[in-house]
Subunit: 328 residues, 4 copies
């Protein structure tokens, strides 16, 4: 028996994990890519719970950085960055439900070198920004292109890093806002959290009728914090299975793998993201795993794990997790 | 000669401070009030630079809290709070321009007690919130109604506070986002900054064609920080004069009175809001007042002033100011 | 009747505001100046409640920056900066008491130009520091000397700023720690708060037998936040009157003038300093002024005032105050 | 060949990893345990580089919490918590050197249940504290005792967690300060970082002659962030080998295992701790591993790892690490 059958999706999803129809969102199908998570555009696709979607995603720069000579300040046109596929309307989804998105696979596409990272002026975790505003001069702008295949990320002649892909930006539409795809929040978005990877099911609190799933911004890999602000950005074919859970109310993004459950928080300062994540994890332990609050608080103290997703986006994203082996 | 003639609006505005036509946005004219700053709705009014607009604003609760028995958790329907008048389209405004909004007057309207404040669960500067998430139990919910006239705010039998009204939420539309009217940002919005008051001209960086001015959320008065999250909220007739400045590029909100110039920053943590505000003030001193950067930095160190607007909204807002008498 | 008689010092001090003996701590009396707030050195002086002390303070650089050519990185020897007079032992003071320090006067001393400010590499509110660590290159180091008299601070040929002196660093010894005089905390220290000025009485929670009062780091004036980290640093004759209050337990620094009461918080991030200050102000209103907690929270929301002392020291310092006219 | 020979300690230590004399600091030898990291007490022991020290540590409560009925608020006497063994004087150590401390073993001692955790009022990562000051009522105080052996931590009848011990508080004396053992900083102290464990060598920047090594506060295990503020606190026999490295200047704590190198940052807000750690890691990669700054920044972005040590102490502690396999 696959762990999927015992997952929240498998046990409580409308489709109970059974795969439905498969859809492909090619570049042609998508047409105009989206730069916001919001309800003000028509869905590119309508699906049913259980359906599988393969989306042809662009990289975060919309493919504009083809060589190391294509400087971001020259080729990017803010705020038109981080293009997204979608929205995908999910039949039956209503505010208060949970959308389950199982990441099936992420395969790089397009010409090599497929991977891009960059030092962008006034952007990143170790430089002054428009928000952490300082008088110091910015670093020199710089682009690094990398060959990325499922065999590895060729960081340099000397270093090849494992291909550990994940989805940087994924989520559902807010109820009435239309928010930049650069921002993470309780509905998902630009979380840049490496656990949103093949092998995981991500749960989003539906805010708007039909959920309106957006997805994009795949990364060939990333260190904790996405330090300079730009991971190994790749165009990819991202394949997900979508299910819908009725009667499960969650305040923000949750995630599940075969080995652990995780609550996600996005906020500034960083300790607030950690607080959000851990408080939700405690409440989850209380509601579903038979702990009282103090015991759950103690267990997180002694066995909780924290992953720093990003420390560069408008809100920082952290995940707090607990091994399933401890709470069975 | 009025100081208005020497203001940025008076010297550089398309209308040079001359008053044009007067418009009134009554409740009937407004029809549906707005809960977002964004470009996705039709303007309620089109005006020309120099025109005056008198808007009949609702209080932040849309008038739903009529007595101290009307608890927020009962009568409010999130996210439909902080209703705004507008958008007002300003002819000729384009991305890169500056919209000048001179606050002429704020007069309470509606039945007494017109003023409302409240302790709302998990909201405020001295309580755990969904963001600064904690396990402590929330405070008891509580509403306080106050009689508010231009003569004063009757806080209690013992205390009458001066009527020092200002506009809590004011700004222009983002370029492609539609952002909750609860949020402040570089385009304005829910800054809750007491200097946005009669006697001030506020400058906003236009992001979208016709600017799309929104306004609402008048306060009879407020302490620094808007500590519990709810000022003396009043419905009001808010009268502003609008002008348009071409060829002035500003990165965020600026403000001017007869006595000082101010740059505004909105961010978390609070020091980032202070950094944003002060950096912009320094750049303003350099560009317009003949200082080099080091001298401007020194002058702000020795004579800068900081006003804490709010420490409760999704971003905290601070203003950094310099007396004009020092920089003439 | 002077307001002093109605102050906490006047009403509850052991000396009830009556002036006792006058002491002078000249450079010769002080001998070795101190770089820590702690109990591990012998007092330079023993006094009784009511006594007046005139201390000959050094500037924060110990006078090492005599000209604009004396760069901090050359002439300073960390951690031997911010020299303090003291400790002064106060007879009868015990842990749990309050030490009242009334600032009587601050007069510049020494040769002109007596005032110094500077851009010090990796120090200040708008630059990367060892703590807010970044990869940006530091600003150029720079010193500015200013003539400072009680008539004004000659900032430049063009600008003379008012002489508004205050004490940058003032407080009592921690119980068992010896903490750098660069740091502010609940016992006082390097608060850099402009309200610690002639006309104010500052209250410190005694931690150690005899209190061990330290003082130094006078400023000719300063803007809110002490932005570049260096105010108008001056050597001065600082005259204070000291009293002792038994039976008053306070968790941190409080302050009183004729017009207002203030609670002080020192913490990072800045919102935590604001929370500390405002929470203590609310508790003070509850314990001494007849408010219940919700009313005090409401009053601070509508009429509280925040002063940003510093945004540059190891902890940021803010003061939250309430006008006495509202709470009589 | 052991990896120790290729470690910084093995290659550059005065003793080159060779073990010298073994010393034992029993409770009798220690006599008075210490509550501060500072130079104002006499060393309990003098050793030479290469020597091994076995210290009989107390738990963070000095053993005062013997049963679940011993509430912290009753049995603790602030600031006398987190007792430390030491200081140990290391011959030849001078300011500017590096002290290498290899953790050899941590064995629980004393009667069972040896492990203690607790909910202490106004302390912890998910509650209001004196610093993140709020008006919410504190949680109920609570103690949990656990049997701890090298076989495991008996969290409850249902859950036994792996024994993964580490040293919570370890470091050298500041130069002139004496700082509470509750605080972490660039010299070490209460970092509560689970990587400070058997198998690691920790490097501290010496500030004072003879280094003055302090150690204590062993934990049977801990989750990331030490969420409630109290790990599995145990009394233990902690055995370390100490070496001294001349000619290596480091700005803060660094750490090495067979698999990775790590830089440690302690600061608030949490992002500043992450910035400190990552900036130092980048500088380390540049100075010792042949990267230029941009390449090191890129590598940390794609392959850096962050461990959240504590989010509860006066400063939060994070470690940023890089696998040695990537940088050989």
């Amino acid at each position: 028996m696959s762990w999927i059958e015992t997952s929240y999706m498998g046990r409580r999803g409308v489709a109970r994990g059974a795969q439905g129809q498969t859809h492909e969102i090619t570049e042609a199908v998508q047409g105009e890519y989206r730069y916001m998570y919001g309800p003000y555009v028509a869905p590119v696709l309508r699906i049913r719970p259980g359906d599988v979607v393969a989306a042809h995603t662009h990289d975060a720069f919309g493919g504009a950085i083809k060589t190391e000579a294509d400087l971001p300040s020259k080729v990017l046109n803010m705020p038109f960055v981080n293009p997204q596929n979608g929205p995908v309307a999910v039949e039956g989804a209503e505010k208060g439900d949970v959308l389950a998105v199982r990441i099936l696979s992420i395969v790089p596409r397009g010409p090599q070198p497929a991977g891009t990272t960059a030092l962008i002026p006034e952007f990143g975790g170790l430089v002054a920004t428009p928000t952490t505003a300082m008088l110091n001069a910015p670093l020199a702008e710089k682009v690094k292109k990398m060959e990325v295949t499922t065999a590895g990320v060729k960081f340099s002649d000397r270093i090849t890093l494992p291909y550990e892909p994940f989805v940087g930006t994924l989520g559902v539409s807010p109820e009435i806002e239309a928010v930049s795809s650069l921002q993470p929040d309780y509905w998902g978005g630009n979380m840049d959290l490496p656990d949103v990877a093949p092998g995981a099911i991500v749960y989003f609190p539906v805010q708007h009728k039909d959920a309106y799933l957006y997805m994009g911004d795949c990364h060939g890999r990333q260190g904790d914090g996405e330090l300079c602000g730009v991971a190994v950005e790749i165009p990819a074919v991202l394949t997900v299975q979508v299910d819908l859970i009725k009667g499960w109310s969650i305040p923000g993004v949750r995630l599940e793998t075969e080995d652990f459950i995780m609550s996600v928080g996005s906020a500034r300062p960083m300790e607030d993201a950690a607080r959000m994540a851990y408080r939700d994890l405690i409440r989850w332990l209380v509601s579903d795993y038979g702990f009282d609050e103090a015991e759950a608080y103690f267990l997180c103290t002694q066995a909780g794990r924290v992953r720093v997703g990003n420390m560069v986006d408008p809100k920082y994203t952290l995940g707090a997790s607990m091994l399933k082996s401890y709470i069975r």
